[in-house]
Amino acid sequence: MNDPRKGPAPASSARCSPAGWLARLLGRLSAAHRKYGLEWWILIAGAAVILFTIYMAAFPRTLARYDPLDQEAGPQMAPPSREHPMGTDNLSRDVLARMIHGSRTILGVAFAAALLSSIIGIPLGLLSGFAGGAFDRVLSLIMDSIYSFPGLILAIAFAAMLGPGVVNITLSVAVIYIPTYFRLVRGQTLSIKEELYVEAARAIGCRRSTILARYIFPNVIATVVVVFSLNIADAIMTEAALSYIGLGLPAGIPDWGMDLSMGKKFLPSGVWWMITFPGAMISTLALGFTMLGEGLSEILNPRLLER
C-alpha cells in the first residue's frame, strides 16, 4: 500500500553526487513541510539557533574580534558601536566577544548535565518499570523525593556544597533532572510492558534483557529525545541562574550568567547593554532548544491517518 509518509522518490542517478544528496535533502525538507506544517518550521527555527550557537562555541575566533578576557579591548562601558557591536563592560572587555566565547561554557555545561542525567535516569527508569516490586517502590520513593524539591534550590544546595568549578556545576545541574528521566521512562516502560508485542517477544523465547533492550527501549526513546531537548533548555536557565547568584564558575571563564549579574549592577546608571545581551542570549538559546523539542515531539510520534 502506498505510504503517504514517504517523500518523493529520488532520481537514482543523483544518488551518489553531493549535489544530488543536497537536492534530495532539500526535497525531503520541503516535502516534510507539506506534511507537518507549522511544527516543522518551529523545529527548523530551533535547529537553526542551536546550530549557530554550536558554531559559535566551536569556532569563536572566527566571529569575535577581541579576546573576551582582554581588559583593554576598548573604552570602558562604551555603548554599542560599529567597533563593538555589543558595547564594552566595566572592565573594558568586548561584550560581543564575551557572548561568543560564553556560549561554549553554557552549552557545554547544559549538554553535559543533560547527558549525565539521562545516562543515569533512563536505565534506572527502565529497570524499575520492568522489574517492579520492592525495588521499584524504593527507587520511586527516592526519585519522587528529589523531584519534589524545587529544582533550583536543590541545585544551589549542591553547588554550595561542592564548591565552584565546571565539573561541580555540571554535577549540581545534572542531579535535579535525573528524576525527570526516571519518571518518564518508568511510566512508558510500565505501559509498553503490557503491549501485545512484548508478550509476543516473550513467546519467541527472548530473555528479559533482550526484551528490555530491543522491544521496550526503542519504543521509549522517541519521547526521551524530546525531553532531552527540553531538558537542555531548562539546564541552560539553571546554569545561568547559578552563576548569576555567584555559585558558578571562576572569574576567568566567560559566562553569560555572571555577565548578567554584573550588568544588573550597572543598570541604574543607564548602562543597558551589559545586561540586555546576556539576557537575550540566554533566552534565545533556551528558546531554541524548546522549539527543537516541541517540533520533534510532533514529528516523532507517528500519527495515524484518520480513515
Partner: protein
C-alpha cells in the same frame, strides 16, 4: 420477505459524493452513490473496510467530521434534501425521525450519566415540555419492548452487559419513534448468542414498528438474516444492488461473487474457500476505469478504460448458461456496475 407497503421510498440518496483531504491528496471516500430505502424495508449496505459505507451512513445525518466534506449529491427524506437543510432543522431530525446506532455502545453512551438521565435528555431535546414522569414512562415502554427490564433505567452504562448496552442504545434511538434507523456494525462487539437475540429484535422492530433500517456491515451472515435488499460497495462506489436472495444466490459483480464465496458457511461442507487476489485499492489514486479491474478474474479490455455505470443487467453473465439465467423481468431493481452485463459504454 414482504415488499414495502408504499411505493414511495422514505429515503433517497442521489449521486452522493464525500471526500476528505489528507497530506498527499484527497481521499474519495464515496463517489456518486445513489440508493433508495423503502418504507419498513431493511437495506443492507455491505463492503469491506475502507469502502465508504460507514462514511455514507454518517452523511445521512450530516455527521461527517471535517476535514471530510460532502462534495455533491442530495439526500431526500420525505422529499426534502437533508444536505441543504439549516443546522437547526437537521438537529431536530436527529434522534427523532432518523436515528443512528453505532458499533461500540460503551463509547456511545455517556459513562457519567445514569440511563434515565440520558433518556430525559434525549426526549427533552425534542419535546421540552414533557414532564419527567411522562418521559420515564415512555423510556420504560421502549425498554420493555426491547427486552430490557425497567429497573435498568437507574443504572450506569458500565453496570450493564454488552448486549444490554446495545439494547439501551437502540432504545435511546427509538424512544422518539423514528422512521429510519441507520445501524453501523451494531453487532461487532457482541457474542454470537447475544447477536442472534439482537437480530431477532431488529426483525421484530421492522414488523411491529414499521421501521426502515439501513444496516451497514461487513458481516455477510448478519446481513443475510435481516436485509430485504442488499447494496454492495467497493472503493467508494456501488457495484451491485438487488434483493437479498438474488444477490446471495446469483451474485453478478465479480467482487460480490468473490465475497460471497469466501465466507465459511456452517451449514455447508466447503472443500476450499474461494480467495480474492490483490489488495484493497488506493482511494487517493484509485485504479482507472472500473476500480475493481486489477483484481477481477473476468477483466476485459474496456474495464481499465471506462468506469461502468450502475445499471440493470441487460444480458446474463457469460458464465451462466441461458437455461440458468433468470428472466430479466423477474429481477426488478437489480443493478450492477460491470461491463460484463451489456451496459452501453
Amino acid at each position: 420477505m414482504d415488499s414495502p407497503v408504499s411505493a414511495e421510498p422514505i429515503l433517497q440518496i442521489q449521486n452522493l459524493s464525500i471526500a476528505y483531504p489528507i497530506a498527499i491528496g484527497t481521499v474519495r471516500a464515496v463517489e456518486q452513490v445513489s440508493l433508495e430505502l423503502g418504507d419498513a424495508e431493511a437495506l443492507g449496505l455491505v463492503g469491506e473496510s475502507g469502502c465508504g459505507k460507514s462514511t455514507l451512513g454518517l452523511s445521512i445525518l450530516r455527521l461527517v467530521r471535517p476535514p471530510g466534506r460532502i462534495t455533491g449529491g442530495r439526500i431526500l427524506y420525505h422529499g426534502r434534501d437533508l444536505l441543504a437543510m439549516p443546522e437547526r432543522e437537521i438537529r431536530a431530525l436527529r434522534g427523532k425521525n432518523i436515528t443512528m446506532a453505532f458499533q461500540n455502545p460503551l463509547t456511545s453512551l455517556n459513562p457519567l450519566y445514569r440511563i434515565d438521565r440520558q433518556f430525559l435528555e434525549t426526549i427533552r431535546q425534542h419535546e421540552p415540555a414533557v414532564t419527567r414522569p411522562q418521559a420515564l414512562q415512555r423510556a420504560e415502554k421502549v425498554l420493555e419492548s426491547l427486552g430490557v427490564e425497567p429497573q435498568r433505567l437507574y443504572e450506569y452504562p458500565h453496570q450493564l452487559s454488552g448486549g444490554m448496552r446495545q439494547r439501551v442504545m437502540l432504545a435511546l434511538g427509538l424512544v422518539m419513534n423514528p422512521d429510519i434507523l441507520v445501524a453501523d456494525e451494531p453487532t461487532t462487539a457482541l457474542d454470537v448468542i447475544v447477536e442472534a437475540g439482537f437480530i431477532d429484535l431488529l426483525n421484530s422492530l421492522r414488523r411491529d414498528w414499521r421501521l426502515s433500517i439501513l444496516l451497514i456491515t461487513h458481516n455477510l451472515g448478519l446481513v443475510a438474516e435481516i436485509a430485504d435488499r442488499i447494496a454492495v460497495m467497493y472503493a467508494g462506489r456501488l457495484v451491485e444492488v438487488g434483493a437479498a436472495e438474488q444477490v446471495f444466490h446469483r451474485p453478478l459483480h465479480p467482487y460480490t461473487q468473490g465475497l460471497i464465496h469466501c465466507v465459511p458457511n456452517i451449514r455447508v461442507d466447503q472443500e476450499r474457500l474461494a480467495t480474492m487476489g490483490g489488495s484493497p485499492p488506493d482511494l487517493v489514486e484509485p485504479p482507472s476505469g472500473c476500480r475493481f479491474h486489477p483484481r477481477c478474474p473476468q477483466v476485459m479490455e474496456i474495464c481499465p478504460r471506462r468506469e461502468p455505470p450502475l445499471a440493470s443487467p441487460l444480458i446474463p453473465s457469460p458464465i451462466e448458461s441461458a437455461a440458468e439465467a433468470a428472466p430479466q423481468g423477474g429481477e426488478a431493481g437489480r443493478q450492477v456496475a460491470c461491463w460484463l452485463y451489456g451496459a452501453r459504454p
